[in-house]
Subunit: 336 residues, 3 copies
């Protein structure tokens, strides 16, 4: 199979999903169409049954040796809705490794039983290593990177883009919108991955607010200055809130890099409050990859502009569509 | 949705099951009819296939952060027989909570992926808190209390009542029967929950035998004196065995309250033995919520009056019917 | 049900699989036919769907309280392909046992929810104990021994035989072939179990190579001298490699018996290398039950004679066929 070694694609279809950068705008939007169709199908029993025949007899392994309940459950639900049987491995302290087996031998064994392996792994680069290993050995199995360590988290980026796509669908799309990213932009992979996908659109304007300790890195900043129409930075959220079409909030991710301390007062300087949100446009949307801390108080859950719970649901459907795309049942869903 | 905030019902149907007291006699007996029908359906392949289409495309989460293998497996089997996909969370030491997420944010996330959340949780009141949270936020998801700590265990009560219902079906029903409850009546929630449901019937007579350290509490005793035709108490099982239509045995539950010590000799004074069982009526039934200790020796498993293993199977079917009722596929099963 | 108490069969069909010796040649080959048919069925969507209706509404429990990821996943995939719902118990530190329940009471509870219990347990003999317990109590449930401690591992033997059966199918079958067993023959249950099944064939010739510390035991050796046409022994793999039709490699299993030390240099004396493999016949096959250590370097994975990854896949299909046989859906698969 002449798979593109850089993009992991075969005739325009993803064989493995390892990096956010694999999503072209065209590919992402095709997947969004499948996601929209699948969620509509699932509103009726015959539609659910049709959806559930998509991948009958196909098996998925959730190889999540780095703990992650929410991403795990989202992929589990997505695979189940398509009729896949799912198995899980959630700990590396397993007998085979104690018996001296290599990580790639373990994964090859898993691949003999499963068509798709969704990987969350503490070491960066492992998803890519598996994908290359499968190609090198002509194993016709599929890998999806479920987000690994400080590594890339491509399905988070996909669901964030899907949420923006849905919100702006009847308002001219994402092109030309002003997006405000807030919080831990140094370490939060969600915001950084989303930036990569927003760069596929025309005329997007970017505002950035973060405490000085966790500003967007220089590399991402210079990329952003090239990719976006306008890039502004501040430490005070009030400077940009009134202009935003979408506010993408993130929490301070102290678990990845505990030696950078961000004082609580810094969180106060960028966290949303009812007073701050009052300055937001009526049709703006508030997003957050969750889990949250204090940067969005629960009182804002009822604000009609809040979309972070929709993001969770969108994530499941984006993953349904991604799996269907990779395993080749997307056209069947689109023709339902 | 105008859900009754006290009973968690909508147009006579349970939306959430939190408390044993939510079961009216009518509601319980409707559920028993569905349970009977579902188990008959499952005796043939077409019937099994029909049953398994009941909730195709619907997802259940078993949120069992308090260990319980038997209740877990019973619910898991029940949801599977109805065609639901099931996921599980069996530990609270998960990444999101380490990242500072609140318990209700976690549950709301789970609710975005699942139609039904079955909860077993160490703190009492959590199922109710979730049910109210879902109603307050208009989240059209369902909660079932899978038994939490010393809290209420409504599906155990339901399966016990279902067992009595089946046993006495052709003998005039539960009304007027004499029920003997034996063992740890102070802490055993199974016996106490069953009492609440037996109180829905007419002319039930109640006998109680327990060691002095673990007698039925004053509150339950005064309720029982009102609800039942006749209530008798003793420390010696021989006093009542010959009169019983059903003997409901329980073990001393030292794991919940280790500072109450019940000596082994006390267990001898109420445990069943072949000699004691010889005095039992030929058509009486012996029940136990299991697990057991020495209060029922295994030799009695072959006694034709023993029903504790049937209770286990009845529990699975009662849960099938309950899930079908809450998720609205009961009428489809009844019309099969 | 008049089940044969020695063979756990009823009218020629396995009711429980506990021991490798239960497989007659006829029975094993019938199962291989089902395995071949099932894997062909699964190459098309309608075939997959047909296969997945085989055991709809039937439930399997994977009771794997001894860790084993690969055997677990193989059985999990097999049961799923047949449409069974699967549940798992992977730890004995569960609430019921803490509450004083006996192991047989726990298993009986599991049996009320599941048609099939696949058991991997640290103590030898537990699968057999469960099988006898089910027969004694007329519980119409099924047990499969998933490999326990140093005990018998009958499905490993079945998949190894299935691999030889497939390889030699168009070359006169297993009868008369020369099989070379290499490595830890004292403790490796895979090789010892395979010997039992090879003894069902005519004129098989056996070569054995192992370090002196872990030679085949005297009991197995005297059985082998009776069962096989010719038995030869050496400490040097070069002595026999050029004659072999199949080379069955095993690793030194130090985890089972840590006080027997086998020096690394001994592994060098029997491990495969490209130079050694060059002496092997062109149509010989190289097998290994996996996991491997250094006795087969990964460079040999591309050797056209290597079959150890096929064994993994054959294992899943052999288990599909075994489950179908035990639960009585094999004839439906054969008539597809």
């Amino acid at each position: 199979m002449a798979v593109d070694q850089e993009d992991f694609t075969y005739r325009g279809r993803l064989v493995h999903l390892v990096h956010t950068r694999q999503f072209t705008r065209r590919l992402a939007e095709d997947i969004f169409d499948v996601a929209d169709r699948a969620r509509r199908l699932n509103t009726s029993r015959p539609g659910s049954a049709y959806l559930k025949e998509s991948l009958v007899g196909r098996l998925a392994l959730l190889y999540f040796v780095q703990p992650s309940t929410r991403t795990f459950l989202s992929f589990h639900a997505a695979a189940s809705l398509l009729g896949m049987s799912t198995a899980e491995v959630r700990s590396r302290e397993i007998s085979s490794e104690m018996k001296g087996e290599s990580a790639l031998d373990s994964v090859r064994t898993f691949a003999m039983y499963h068509d798709l392996i969704i990987i969350r792994y503490p070491e960066p680069g492992f998803s890519e290593q598996c994908a290359r290993f499968f190609l090198d050995n002509d194993l016709r199995r599929h890998v999806i990177n479920g987000g690994s360590g400080k590594d890339d988290h491509p399905t988070q980026a996909l669901l964030d883009l899907y949420t923006l796509h849905r919100e702006f669908y009847s308002r001219g799309g994402i092109d030309g919108k002003r997006i405000l990213l807030v919080g831990d932009l140094a370490r939060g992979r969600a915001a950084r991955s989303l930036l990569q996908l927003l760069a596929r659109y025309e005329g997007v304007r970017l505002d950035l607010v973060s405490p000085p300790q966790v500003k967007l890195g220089d590399d991402m900043m210079s990329l952003s200055r090239k990719a976006f129409e306008d890039v502004r930075e501040s430490e005070h959220i009030e400077d940009f809130l009134q202009d935003a079409d979408a506010v993408y909030m993130t929490r301070v991710q102290s678990e990845y890099d505990p030696h950078i301390e961000v004082p609580e007062s810094a969180i106060d300087s960028y966290g949303l409050t009812p007073a701050r949100v009052a300055t937001l446009k009526a049709d703006a949307v508030i997003m957050h990859p969750l889990p949250r801390r204090s940067e969005i108080p629960t009182i804002l859950d009822r604000d009609p502009r809040s979309r972070y719970w929709d993001q969770v649901e969108n994530g499941m459907w984006a993953r349904v569509a991604l799996i269907a795309h990779i395993l080749g049942s997307d056209s069947r869903i689109m023709s339902a």
